[in-house]
């Protein structure tokens, strides 16, 4: 019982991180139909920026995170302009390969500038807290709370504001969006900005419980892709729930089935879900 609770909490923590990464990905994938494999690189860069702002400029964790959101968001915008905008008429696989090119470049760049070594990010919330017999650190609670808050804000933004609606409209008919006076370019850039920002938040939150290194994006990106697919592409609730499903599958699978095979369990689960619902969990059927 005890262990179940503890592992549920662990699953929740890691699921929150997955969800945040997946959200950024689902926005770009769902809206601009770009399978942005470079999203993992944005995540990585986000971790580095927060770390650098903290260590070399001595900024507080939150301020560093905030700046990192802005910088990585802008990096996302830059990526959209230079790489994806020229490719918007190309078939979707092209985006994928271009994104891989960007990923390789960013990783190499970070390694070139900062070195390949692991770094750890200090957190002001390192203390251990015991709640209901669970051992947790404040940082982990912070991850969960922040992730949920961010998700709610994003949901409200997309559902309740015209700009949010415009983002969704773009996803369904780019030319139609032009016709009602939406500046598709601006929306594309905004989408990438939000997506980059989400990656930066996710990285800033999770880095203190893991490490910062050039390959850190690989840890999450594949999983994030899977999440947005099972959730249903472009579906915000899908990305969130998918993230938690994966988080729980990993922590509970590792505990009650097999630690060695926990990744296989998680991926098999996803395959099973897709086998039963070939279009994901949250897609309403309109063709």
């Amino acid at each position: 019982m005890d262990i179940l609770l503890q592992q549920l909490f662990n699953g929740l923590t890691i699921g929150s991180v997955y969800s945040l990464v997946a959200l950024g990905l689902t926005l770009v994938y769902g809206i601009l139909h770009i399978p942005n494999f470079a999203h993992g690189a944005l995540y990585m860069v986000g971790g580095y920026f927060t770390l650098l702002f903290m260590t070399s400029m001595g900024l507080h964790y939150w301020i560093a995170t905030f700046l990192s959101i802005i910088v990585v968001g802008l990096l996302g915008v830059l990526m959209e302009r230079i790489v994806f905008n020229p490719l918007r008429h190309a078939p979707p696989i092209h985006d994928k390969i271009a994104a891989i090119g960007v990923l390789l470049f960013l990783e190499a760049l970070v390694q070139f500038l900062l070195g390949p070594e692991y770094r750890s990010m200090p957190t002001p919330y390192g203390e251990v807290v015991n709640v209901f017999g669970l051992t947790v650190t404040a940082q982990r609670i912070l991850i969960i709370v922040t992730a949920i808050v961010v998700m709610i804000i994003l949901h409200l933004f997309l559902k309740k504001t015209m700009i949010g609606a415009a983002i969704i409209a773009m996803s369904q008919n780019r030319e139609g969006a032009f016709l009602v006076g939406i500046n598709a370019n601006k929306i594309a850039m905004l989408t990438f900005f939000i997506s980059g920002g989400l990656a930066a938040i996710a990285a800033s939150l999770s880095s203190p419980i893991n490490l910062v290194f050039p390959g850190m994006g690989h840890l999450v990106i594949l999983k994030a892709f899977v999440i947005i697919i099972i959730g249903g592409m472009g579906s915000i609730p899908g990305a969130i729930i998918g993230g938690f499903i994966l988080g729980f599958a990993e922590s509970l699978g590792a505990t009650f089935i097999s630690n060695d095979y926990k990744d296989i369990i998680a991926f098999l689960l996803l395959v099973v879900i897709l086998t039963i619902r070939p279009k994901g969990l949250f897609v309403k059927g309109v063709h």
């Binding site: 008919n173 139609g176 969006a177 032009f178 016709l179 939406i182």
Partner: protein, 235 residues
Amino acid sequence: MLELTDVSVHYGGYLALRDINLSVKDGELVVLLGANGAGKSTIFRTISGLSKPSKGKIEFMNKNVNGLSPDRLVQSGIVQCAEGRKLFPQMTVKENLLLGGFSNRKDKERIKQNIEKSYELFPILREKKDNQAGSLSGGQQQMLAVGRALMANPKLILLDEPSIGLAPLIVEQVFEVIQQINRDGTTVLLAEQNANAALKIADRGYVIENGKIVLEGQSQELFDNDEIRKAYIGA
């Protein structure tokens, strides 16, 4: 109000429009007639900024609007109801309409009124307001497209074959609506296959063939022209 001077448009190497000269005056209802592939939609796309002219000038309300992006043109009052409808299929009817009002999104009151107006014009839209646009029948989608275009309170509305795929009863209604819109002060440029109905409500018309304007005149003149009767109205 709208003035095209010597406008040419290329699709890649293919010349789709050649030296088009066309004007629409404030408050007018002008119809473009032409066979399939003549270039009507291309004219519309060019005016809306979706295609860029390779040559020539486009003026709207005495300002050069050549090269402006589509969203700026919508803001300045040119709205198109395009061929193929271009709806947002997974959004509800109501959301589609709301987005139609994107350019005056600050004015909540007006958007509300406009939505009401659309519902009055096409009652089926009210009935289906919470359905996804993609699930509507072809004709219903066409109505939604017209309704959405009106949401932006256009000064000039471009209607590209609005009656396509509509039941006869609805076609009548649509033409009435167009007339209504025009009477309420919106300038209309209309492309139609249904020349008969179109010329009845239009002030003037242009006939376009193979990317060139071959004839221009008052509705009645065109209506009485034998060749036009044969080609566009049917025996």
